[in-house]
Amino acid sequence: MDLVQEPGSVPDKSEIRSCFDSQSGTLDRRVFADQALYDLEMKNIYARAWNFMCHESHIPNPGDYFINYIGEDQVIVVRDRQGEVQVLLNTCRHRGNALCRAEQGNAKSFVCSYHGWNYDLNGDLIGVPGLSSYYRKDFDKSQWGLAKAAQVDHFHGFYFATLDPAAPPLHDYLGEVGRIGLGLLVANGPVEAVDGVQKNVIDCNWKIAVDNLFDWYHVQYSHASAGMAGFMDLAAILHPNDQMVMFGEYGHAISGPVIPEERQAEIDAMTDEERLAVVAEGMLKNPDKPVAPPRPSAARDLLGPTGVRCMGHPNIFPNLWVSTNGTQLSLRLPRGPFATEIWWFTFLPKGLPEEIRKKQIAFNAHLFGPAGMLEQDDGENWSQSTRTSRGVVSRGYRHHLAMGLGHDEVMTDDAGAARVETTISEHAQRWLYRNWMDWMTADDWADLKANRSPVPQGRV
């Protein structure tokens, strides 16, 4: 089998199906280093999935826009005159020029800098220079509006878009686990974006960055220096034997620490005032520590009995990480097999006391992003893991992702979320790559819905 193919060729489904072996928990490194697979990811994953666009507070007023990507397709996320959020492909229908060249801003309309075609905020083509004189009125503007996302929706103010009209509604796409994952962002109340998205490019495959967010095994070693420098007590955040993995629809998953049932019972017995006091005291005594639970009592209704105990890392398939304790989102935007843009968004509850707000922002700035005490070293590891996959002999050796395979029993709560509660494991990474194969081999949404891997039951 050789997945290195002529440009434009499509990898064979059986070859894709062999990339991850669920029995042995091993992964073919070619998933990180193959242009044909990458091209298929753009079509079969990104052009079909619901992709995170921005939060409502990024674009509060009509004309406010924010540029994002669906795969490598650039989109304008804009609030139109009616207050609706539109997601438009950022490419003029005339000669393809990008309409917005800024990352964000406010516009009355989108005028192309090439020939001056002018589009309304909802994508309608409203102005074409020379319509009478050059086109001799032989042109129908109504047919040449901007291409739009097939569906746009939001969950607690977090906007998503899909280019595929056959995609299920966002609510169903997220499923219970995806909704818990995003729910962590608003578990302490409604949030607003803190201004500023950190963006950098890492020379790694996007999936290396994604599967790493589930990986609590690397923390003690990759990030040892952050602990030694006194930035954070890694042992205190790791809880290696109180770990939970939740398996969601279409490849969403959550992996990481879980609040033990006994501790949650203590939290449940506290009033909201008592909980807030614990959070505030912790923050103010330890200026470089994150806001930690106890979450307010309303969080139980929002997240459910299992979700409220979740301290782990959700990934909304394919590439949206809800970071620790729900104050940040990280997008991993593919830029070819060997490069990924990393974007960090920060969200904080509205009305947070100023002192706590300042400390949380400073903590987030020190944690992740290219200068972050943790992420500095992630970039180094991910880029080298990707680079070694380019060696024709090295890439013949499969990655080992079998930690804990066959040792855990799936539990399901009343809300239907499947989970294991266990030690540090690689269950979520295995779930990710199984689902990656489902997406990559599906002909369309109907095929994916019918033939995807069922959420695990029994022994995993």
């Binding site: 964000q104 990759s222 220096s225 920060t346 020190h366 290219p370 200068a371």
Partner: protein, 187 residues
């Protein structure tokens, strides 16, 4: 009035200075920045840290590509997200990380070269001197990674017991998307 004097006269707080005094101050500050750059490039981070006052602030906002009409939103502001928002303790933490033996982003260490130029004295206020410089920071990592960061630095110096110390640094990069695996270096 000479051309040099006309330009310098715009600097706040320098009215009482003779041209000779201004030149001496300019020389002293330039030599300070050259020595400081050599400390970072020579990996003498502890000596570098001693240049900073206890109450110092070290900050790099996020820059964005915006249209001229939105230009006041080009940089994030204090209290928003940033790349660096460091106290002296945070700078010490970064150095302790590099020295830990487990700081994979700096072991093997990067090779850096700070080129500091266009040094301007913007303000003299008592013991503090406001300056602006242009910098070019070249970094080479492992065998093939190269990063180049250009920008403007707004540095605040304070005379403590006769010696110059750094009490503030604002770093305004000329990049928006950071085209590097990380920023594990000191600016």
């Amino acid at each position: 009035m000479s051309q040099a004097k006309a330009v310098q006269a715009e600097t706040a707080g320098l009215d009482a200075f003779s041209l000779q005094q201004r030149m001496e101050l300019q020389f002293e500050i330039e030599q300070f920045f050259y020595a400081e750059a050599a400390m970072i490039d020579g990996r003498d981070y502890r000596t570098w840290l001693d240049l900073w006052t206890e109450d110092c602030s070290y900050w790099m906002p996020i820059r964005r590509t915006v249209t001229l009409s939105d230009i006041d939103r080009e940089f994030t502001k204090r209290g928003d997200m940033s790349f660096y928002d460091d106290t002296r303790a945070a700078l010490a933490m970064r150095i302790a990380k590099m020295e830990s033996g487990s700081s994979w982003s700096e072991d093997p260490p990067s090779r850096t070269r700070h080129i500091v130029s266009n040094v301007r004295i913007m303000e003299v206020a008592g013991e503090e001197i406001g300056t602006e410089v242009a910098f070019l920071l070249y970094r080479s990592r492992l065998n093939t990674e190269e990063s180049m960061w250009a920008g403007r630095r707004v540095d605040r110096l304070r005379r403590v017991d006769g010696a110059l110390k750094l009490c503030g640094r604002e770093i305004y990069l000329d990049q928006t998307l950071i085209r590097a695996t990380n920023m594990s270096t000191l600016f």
